[in-house]
Structures are given as C-alpha cells and as structure tokens.
C-alpha cells in the first residue's frame, strides 16, 4: 500500500514541479532562464528583508515572542487558502484521475497520494515564506542547534493540518451530493463555501476579541492577541510554536502526532467508503442529457457587437472554475480580509480608544496619502490576472480574434474591459474603507484620487495585455497550464515596483504643493504614461507586430 502511495505521489508531484521549469531539462541544474527561479529569489530576498526589519523592531520593544505567533498565523492562513484552491482540483478534477481509475489502486491509496501532492505543494510555500524568517529568528535569539532541528520538524508537520482537514470536509460534502452536473459551478460553489466558513470563523474571532476592552497600552499587542486566538483554534499551531520555543517538546510533539493520527484515521475511513464513489459522480458530470429546449425568443436576443464581445470575455473566466480561481479569487479573498480587518479596526480598536479616534478623525488627505492609496490600489490590482492571461486563456482559439471582422485595436480595448471593471471596484472599496477609517477626508479629494486610480488601472491593464499578446501561452491541454507555465506574471511585479517607486518620487516632489495641484500633476503623469502605451499599441498594430505571435 505504502509503495503505491509513494509511487502515485511521485508522479503527481513531479508533474507539478516540471510545469514550473525550475530545473533545466538537459543539465538538471537550476534553470536560470525560468522566471519562476528569479521570482523565488526576489520573494525570498524581500521576505528576508522584511523579517529582519520586523525582528529588529520587536527586539527593541522586547516582544520577540510575537514574531513566531504572527508568522505561523500568516502561514496557516496562506496554507488554508492554497489548500482550498487546490484541493477540489487535485482530489477530484485532475486530468490523471481518469487514467488511474481503471488501475488496481485502492481508494485510500489514491486519496492519500493526492493529499500528499497538496502537502508537497505547501512544503514549497513553507520554503518560500517561512524558512528564512525562522532562520533569522533563530539567529536573532541566538538559538541553539536543537532549535534548527525543531524548525525542520515544525515545517514538516504544519502543512498536514490544513490539507487533511480540508480533505475531510471535502469528502463529507461530496458524500451528500448526488451528481455533479457542472464541475465548474461546483468547484466555484465549494470554494465560496470554504470562503464563507473562513469569513464566519473570522467574524467569531473578531467578536471574541472586540468583546474585551482595550486601552491605549494594549494596542501594540493586538496583533499577538489575534494570532493567539487564531492559532489556538488551529489546534496544532500552538504546540508547534511551543516546540520551537523548546517548551515541553516531547509532550507537544505527542499531542501533534496524536491529533494527526486521529485525523488520518477519519480521512482513511471516509476515503475508503466514499472517495472513488465521489470521483465517479464527477466523471459522469457531462453525461446529463436532460437539458431543457432552447427558447429562441428569450435566448436569441440581438446585442451590440462590442457588448457581446465583452460579455463573452467575462464568461470565459467566470464560467470556468480554474480561470475563476486563478484570476479573481485571490483578490476576492484579499478584499474580504480587508473589509473584515477594517471593521475590526474601526469597531474593536478606534471606537474604544478616544485618543486614537480623535487622531484619525482629524486627519486630512495629503499628497503622501494619495500616493499611499494609489500604491495600495496598484498592489491589489496586480493580484488580478485577467488581462495578463486574456489571450492565453483562449488557447488555440485565440486566432479567432484575427479572422473576425472587428479591428484588432478595438479588440485590444475590449479585452481590457473586464480587468478594468474589476480593478475599479477594488479602487472604490479601498477608497470607501479609507473614508471609514479617516472620516474627515474630503469626498472631493477621494473622488479625484479615484479618477487618478482609473488612469493607473487602465495603464496597468494595457501593459499586462500587451505582455500576454506578445508572449501568449496558447498550446495548453489543461486550463491550469495557463497559469503554471505562465512566467509573464513577473512583468506585473516589475511594473508594480516601478509604479511604487514613481509614487515615492511624486510624494517627495509634490509634498509642498496644494493637494489639488498635486493630484492634478499626478493625473497628468499617469495620463502621459497611458497615452504613450496607447500610441505604442496603435503603432504595433499598424505594423502588424503586436498580434504576430497569435497564429
């Protein structure tokens, strides 16, 4: 049994890693041409820098113990998000499942191999986000050698919790579902269900935290309070932190192993009975032939060609679960978190602290504030992957663009509409949250900032679409390849860095100007950038260069 599980795990994990192109196929050495390699290097360096800064600050305040709590909280939330996104796809809808079904593989073997695959993916996340901070923490606290051994142990054990828990919940949900008529709608439903669970849990945490009184002195430790509350509910996190603090190592280790043993027993017992049956519900999803007849009068309405085109583009990522998860799901989650945190901050901290409430209530918008808001909007918009995959998502059908009687420039503009609309919504939410926290900020200033943000959003979308048109991934077999094989995302990060640097410069250059003049000049700068990009697009289309890779 174990041999089969290991073999199946190896196949699935290798498939995942190969798509990242981290190793050169010929030399088996690190592939320096892979943008993922450079992305990893950049992320690791950034995390190392931020961790070092945070550790220095905490050291000054003598609050080093907060670091592990907050790090594990962030890590476990990221892992839950990642597991929720990946679990349905890997457990039930991965392409290899139909190949495994005719083979003499037991349900629990297949299930455990799939669970292992998700755990392996999370190990990658850990290496990226947790290893360096934990090592830096060890150095800062001059930890002994045993600490580093416990780091390996904690990292090995942590991802098992979210993966096995989400898998158990998924198995239970699937048990009560008779057939899956539409796998895309089903995946989106399950994901939203988990999101709802997380939001519900967060609301409970906030309620619990805000019901206690705060005073000015406790504000600094609020982060630790939230972390401890979350970590306590994630029953294995606190024991793992205790192990790293070398506090009752043996007892805590036994506790974690016992919890995992129970979880695995439940998983295997459920899996034995239901996993294969559940898979069969999904593989038969397209055999349903009882669709109702077409009502031509209502279903065949004439629409303006441009609206029809945009609607079709929207359907492309909303009706497909993978595209939905990869393009707008992360930002949906982020915005939910933002809203919850703002409400928590407003209700739980500001309203209970008169001094802070007065301070924030008197704050007005400055050009520095405008730049910070625009920076936040740019960072959030960079999480939306609609334009950067607009062509790649079409796959080999992208050539459709070239033979329909709509000019390529017009199609270029239309392809930007979905991302621009989503990002405008994000911008609106950010500005509304600003108004909630800083009630004295003038509506006119916020509206002007919103107008500048629209220019920034359009420029961002134009650039990302240009990248995808020039470097499309058209030859894919599974939808997930559009994102796994896609290294264009790095351009999004680079552009975001450029915008942030530019905003820092604008802040410095315009800080002594009147706020309205400052916003106007910022608007002019971004409008000029947008005009240059637009001119480039027109020129490239005229010379038949922009779309030449779509064949």
């Amino acid at each position: 049994m174990i041999k089969n599980i290991l073999l199946l795990t190896k196949i699935s994990t290798r498939n995942f890693l190969q798509n990242l192109n981290l190793l050169d196929k010929n030399t088996k050495k690190i592939n320096k041409k892979s943008m993922y390699v450079w992305l990893i290097v950049i992320v690791v360096l950034a995390i190392a820098f931020v961790s070092n800064e945070v550790l220095n600050i905490l050291e000054d305040y003598g609050q080093m113990q907060i670091f592990l709590n907050v790090l594990f909280t962030i890590a476990i939330i990221i892992m839950f998000m990642q597991t929720i996104t990946a679990s349905m796809n890997i457990l039930y809808f991965s392409k290899d499942i139909e190949s495994f079904l005719p083979m003499p593989i037991k349900a629990e073997e297949l299930l455990l191999s799939k669970v292992n695959t998700i755990i392996n993916i999370l190990y990658g996340t850990e290496l990226l986000f947790m290893l360096i901070p934990l090592l830096l923490y060890g150095i800062s606290t001059t930890a002994s050698f045993s600490y580093y051994l416990y780091v390996i142990l904690a990292l090995a054990l942590l991802p098992i919790f979210p993966v096995v828990l989400v898998s158990i919940i998924t198995l239970i949900i699937m048990k009560f579902i008779k057939t899956i008529k539409n796998k895309n709608k089903f995946q989106i439903f399950i994901t939203l269900f988990f999101v709802f669970l997380i939001v519900f849990a967060e609301v409970l945490f906030i309620k619990g935290i805000t019901s206690t009184q705060f005073d000015a002195d406790t504000i600094g430790t609020d982060a630790s309070n939230i972390s401890e509350t979350i970590n306590r509910s994630m029953i294995v996190v606190n024991p793992l932190i205790s192990i790293l603090n070398r506090d009752q190592v043996f007892i805590n280790l036994v506790k974690v192993i016992a919890i995992y043993a129970v979880m695995y027993v439940i998983l295997i017992a459920l899996g034995k009975r239901t996993y294969i049956k559940n898979i069969l519900k999904t593989t038969g999803y397209n055999k349903n032939k009882h669709e109702k007849k077409v009502d031509f009068e209502t279903q065949c309405n004439v629409q303006n060609v441009l609206i029809s085109y945009i609607k079709n583009d929207f359907k492309n990522f909303i009706k497909n679960a993978i595209f939905f998860m990869q393009t707008i799901y992360p930002i949906c989650m982020m915005m939910i978190m933002f809203i919850i945190l703002t409400i928590y901050f407003k209700v739980g901290i500001i309203e209970k602290n008169q001094e802070l409430s007065n301070l924030l209530g008197e704050m007005h918008l400055t050009i520095e504030g405008v730049c910070i808001i625009l920076g936040i909007i740019q960072v959030l918009c960079s999480m939306v992957s609609i334009s950067i995959t607009a062509i790649s998502r079409q796959g080999s059908n992208a050539i459709f663009m070239k033979y329909i009687p709509i000019s390529l420039y017009k199609q270029f503009l239309l392809k930007n509409v979905p991302q621009v609309i989503i990002n405008i919504i994000i911008s609106l939410i950010v500005l509304i949250l600003c108004k909630i926290i800083f009630p004295a900020v003038s509506i006119v200033e916020l509206i002007l900032t919103f107008i500048v943000s629209i220019i920034l959003i359009i420029a961002n979308s134009f650039l990302m679409l240009i990248v995808d048109i020039k470097r499309p991934i058209l030859d894919w077999k599974a939808e997930i390849d559009v994102f796994k094989q896609n290294q264009n995302k790095i351009f999004q990060y680079v552009w975001t860095i450029v915008v942030v640097v530019l905003l820092m410069y604008i802040k410095r250059a315009f800080e002594n100007l009147n706020i309205y003049v400052g916003i106007l000049l910022t608007f002019i700068i971004f409008a000029i950038i947008l005009c240059i990009i637009n001119k480039y697009v027109r020129k490239q289309i005229r010379k038949n260069k922009l779309f030449k890779n779509i064949i």
């Binding site: 539409n182 895309n184 397209n286 349903n288 032939k289 669709e291 109702k292 007849k293 077409v294 031509f296 009068e297 279903q299 065949c300 309405n301 004439v302 629409q303 303006n304 060609v305 029809s308 085109y309 079709n312 359907k315 492309n316 009706k319 497909n320 796959g395 080999s396 059908n397 050539i399 459709f400 070239k402 033979y403 329909i404 009687p405 709509i406 000019s407 038949n544 030449k548 779509i550 064949i551």
Partner: protein
Amino acid sequence: MIEIKNISKSYIKGSKIIDNLNLEIKDGEILGFLGPNGAGKTTVIKMMTGILEIDEGDIFIDGKSIKNEPYEAKKKIGLIPDSPDMFLNLKGIEYLNFMADIYKVGKEERIKAIKELSKKFDMEEALNEKIESYSHGMRQKIIIIGVLLHQPKNWILDEPITGLDPKAIYDLKTMMKEYAKNGNVVFFSTHILEVAENLCDRVAIINKGKIVFVGKIEELREKMKENNSLEELFMEIISDD
C-alpha cells in the same frame, strides 16, 4: 471570389514555406486544396483569413485586400478552423448567439438560421448544453452552424470532414454543393481524396509551398496520362515534385 496573387511566406529567413503561390477560386466553385502534411495548406488558409501576415503578394476576397482592407474582407469570409475545440465554456446556443452578434445577424434571421441548421445537423437537442460536453463531431457541427449563420460569400474550411459521422459528412457535402450552387465560393483543405474527387469542381495540389497542379480531376488524369485512382495520381504528382 478569392484571388491569391504571388504570395510568399517564410518563418525562417531564406527558407520559404510558401513560395510565390497563385490561385483563383471563382464564385460558384468548390475547390479542394490537397497536399501532404507540412505542404503549407493551413499556412495558406491562415493567410487567406488574416490570421497570418503575408510576406509578399496579396489575397483578395471579393476584391477586398486582406492586407489593406482586413475588416471588409473578413466580413465576406466564414472560416471552419481545423480544431473545433472553441468556446467550450459556452452553451451551444450562447456560442451561436455570440457569432450572430459578431457578424451582425438580426433576430428573426438568426432564429430562422439556427432552427434550420441545427435541425439539418441534428443538434437541436444539444443547443442548451455546454460545448465542452459535446463529442468532437458535435463540436465540429456547432462551429459549422455558427459560421453559416451570416451566410458568408466565401466559405473556407480547414479539414472539415475530420471527426464527423457518415451522416454528418453526407449532410456537409450536400450543403457545400448547395452553397456553391448559390454562387458562393467553397474552399476546403482535405486529406480524404475521395471527398475531393466526388465534391470538387477543381482541385489544387500544394507541395513544399508551391502549387503543383490546379484543375479538374479529369485534367489531372489527362496530365498523368494514366487511368489511375486519384490516390495514385496524387502520390505520383507529389513524388514527381
């Protein structure tokens, strides 16, 4: 009418994949475009439909240059691509509606066309299902219906027979004949020589980017001076080259 005038194309500098190709397809004519794999059939079709840039020469669709007046030229084309895996997330009816919007087909006209064509291709029951649940042949049929909604003057089909069942092949062949009879151009590439033999007014054989024969099957036989099957003639002509 489609006029292909002196077109050339190369992906690598100095190596022409299409070399000074000329061809004319008259209104009311069915022309079969034959050639071995890699001969350049799909490249020519892609250039005809504006998917691929033409290095030298030009292609005129009813007098409109695909190079200089692409918008006008594309309105007169209906293309059936070689892969029917398109818009898989849409329901059949949604796809047809989308195509009708793109080619500006009015409501009454589109309903009539969808009803007629879906009946002809036995697709009425499947219109409210997602295209991803269709078989290969059904996907091919929905693409054909979508293209015929706007009644293009020039119907271009890249390997249209692949994946169709015998009834659908028969229906498609009948439709192609009717379409040409009404004064339209039908241009299609195929590997199936019998289809070309039964259906085409003329055939054009391409090999290594050059047209090696254009004319009626009888002319081909005449040229080879042997009473062989089309398959044997085809093999002979491409090996001669």
